[in-house]
């Protein structure tokens, strides 16, 4: 955790504010476009927000937060109760959505999904890499960073207020896609689904706010062996692997509990995990907050 001071809370658009956090103990940890941090809120909740400031600025982090209509207590707290001047703990940056080298980029942003893409756009423009941005939102008044993206990329930005012009025609963008162009998309679930339907899987990178509703086999019990501590635990059908490990005293960090943020990553030594996360676990890793087992037994490095 890094100690910061909440320097400013500023309205950016309707129902969107930005938070500027200044490092309280010297420079903040470095980050790359696409990275997010966990914010520990005063109401004990931890929430993930993409960093949308300038990676070269080691003094402050900037995040933007939309007030969700069905807030579980994170965005409502940020909007209504968080006050400038208070200290806030922020995790080290994590990047599940890194910008890979490519000769050209197409960025697709839906609403607050602009946040991880903004530093990507800035990096691509700064490096002189050809890129364009399609930025859709309900209405211009609800879309943050309009001025910023316009001044960054000018006519390579297509801003769509879907209330007026309807959803972006992704099929047209897919048909016109250069052979080595990489596509980065962050937005609400319908936009991600539309993108997944038209862009080649190997060239599309997405980041979700919330997990996609998907069907899995019914939860079954399994066993987990912790190789370092030597204990073997039973994971009942109605408990997550994460909860079982934590109840047994293993200090596995966790945050979103939805397979989105990546903070509970553990190493799998044997057995076959059933990956249910949204991140695409790297080989030999799993996210025990949502993932379970296909084999009757897993061996993990704990």
């Amino acid at each position: 955790m890094q100690r910061t001071l909440l320097e400013r809370v500023e309205p950016l658009a309707r129902d969107v504010v930005s938070l500027v956090l200044r490092g309280a103990e010297g420079p903040l940890a470095p980050w790359e476009p696409g990275a997010h941090v966990d914010l520990r809120l005063p109401n004990w909740l931890t929430r993930q927000y993409s960093l949308c400031g300038d990676p070269a600025d080691r003094e402050t982090y900037r995040v933007a937060v939309r007030h969700e209509r069905l807030s579980r207590g994170g965005s409502e707290y940020v909007h209504r109760f968080l006050r400038a001047g208070r200290p806030l703990e922020v995790s080290l940056p994590r990047n599940n959505f890194p910008l890979l080298p490519a000769p050209e980029y197409l960025f697709l942003a839906g609403g607050i999904g602009i946040t991880p893409l903004l530093p990507m756009l800035r990096a691509a423009v700064g490096a002189g890499t050809p890129c364009s941005l399609v930025y859709a939102g309900g209405s211009a008044a609800s879309m943050p960073f309009l001025e910023e993206v316009r001044s960054l990329a000018g006519d390579r930005v297509d801003i769509l207020a879907t209330g007026e012009r309807g959803r972006p025609d992704l099929a047209r963008h897919a048909a016109a896609l250069g052979p080595d162009t990489l596509v980065y998309c962050c937005g609400p679930a319908p936009m991600l689904r539309a993108a997944e339907a038209v862009f080649p899987a190997g060239r599309l990178h997405v980041e979700r706010f919330r997990p996609e509703a998907r069907g899995f086999a019914p939860d079954a019990p399994f066993e987990v062996e912790c190789a370092r501590s030597g204990d073997t635990l039973r994971v009942p059908a109605d408990e997550s692997l994460l909860d079982v490990l934590r109840h047994a005293g293993h200090a596995v960090p966790s945050s979103c509990r939805e397979g989105v943020c990546g903070s509970c990553e553990i190493t799998v030594l044997d057995g076959e995990p059933e990956h249910r996360d949204e991140l695409g676990a790297p080989a030999g890793r799993m996210y025990p907050c949502v993932s379970r087992a296909l084999s009757p037994r897993l061996v993990v490095d704990l």
Binding site: P42, N43, W44, L45, L70, S71, R72, G73, E76, Y77, R80, F81, E239, S240, D243, H247, R257, E258, C289
Partner: protein
């Protein structure tokens, strides 16, 4: 030795009034009929409340509810939603509310001497949009209690000052208490090791959701 049963003399409402007088106008005026921004902030920082309900016959019950601060959601200025979590002794409250929808809530914030009182009418719901807002640790409650607010007011902190409730030194009081297992085995004259009960409880406390 058992306590002798006593019944101190009751007072009439007139006698009480003569002893304590009418409430100050300011005290009366601070009662509002909705949740304003200040009380919303109070609820958003409160991890604990007591909930009083009673049945048609006047049998009354008061139970604790607790979770992360703001676990009670302010749906609008007149409406609260309280999640039902395992171990809340829900049955008593819901049985009462089915007969009598009156409810009284007292919100506490650790470290704060003033408390927030909210009275109103309540009913259970399984409305998905409400339950979605009440998730904790990735679990969605099956039920919530919706409270239609009729009265809300901050209660002055004298009781908490006198009780030294937030004084860390007050925690020494708990050391004078037997464990829950010891209490239960004594009350029920059980011939088992109290530690079995205490360990069972500790296990249950590790699984909160």
């Amino acid at each position: 030795m058992a306590h002798t049963r006593t019944r101190p003399r009751p007072l009439s409402p007139e006698q009480v009034l003569a002893l304590v007088g009418e409430p100050e106008p300011m005290v009366k005026n601070k009662i509002i009929d909705h949740i304003d921004e200040q009380y919303h902030r109070f609820i958003a920082h409160s991890p604990f409340l007591t909930m009083a309900t009673s049945d048609a016959a006047g049998n009354t019950d008061c139970s604790p509810r607790g979770d992360y601060p703001g676990f009670v959601k302010v749906l609008d200025a007149h409406t609260l939603a309280i999640p039902d979590r395992p171990g809340n002794r829900i049955a008593d409250s819901f049985r009462n509310l089915a007969e009598n929808d009156g409810i009284g809530l007292l919100f506490l914030i650790p470290g704060m001497r003033e408390t927030l009182r909210v009275n109103g009418r309540a009913y259970p719901t399984d409305e998905p949009e409400v339950l979605a807002r009440l998730q904790a640790e990735g679990r969605t409650p099956r039920l919530a209690i919706v409270v239609r607010v009729e009265q809300a007011y901050a209660h002055c902190g004298r009781a908490l000052v006198r009780s030294r409730l937030w004084d860390p030194a007050s925690r020494a009081l708990a050391e004078e208490m037997p464990t829950p297992g010891e209490m239960l085995t004594a009350q029920l004259s059980l011939d088992i090791d109290p530690r079995v009960i205490d360990e069972g409880l500790e296990e249950a406390y590790r699984k909160l959701y």
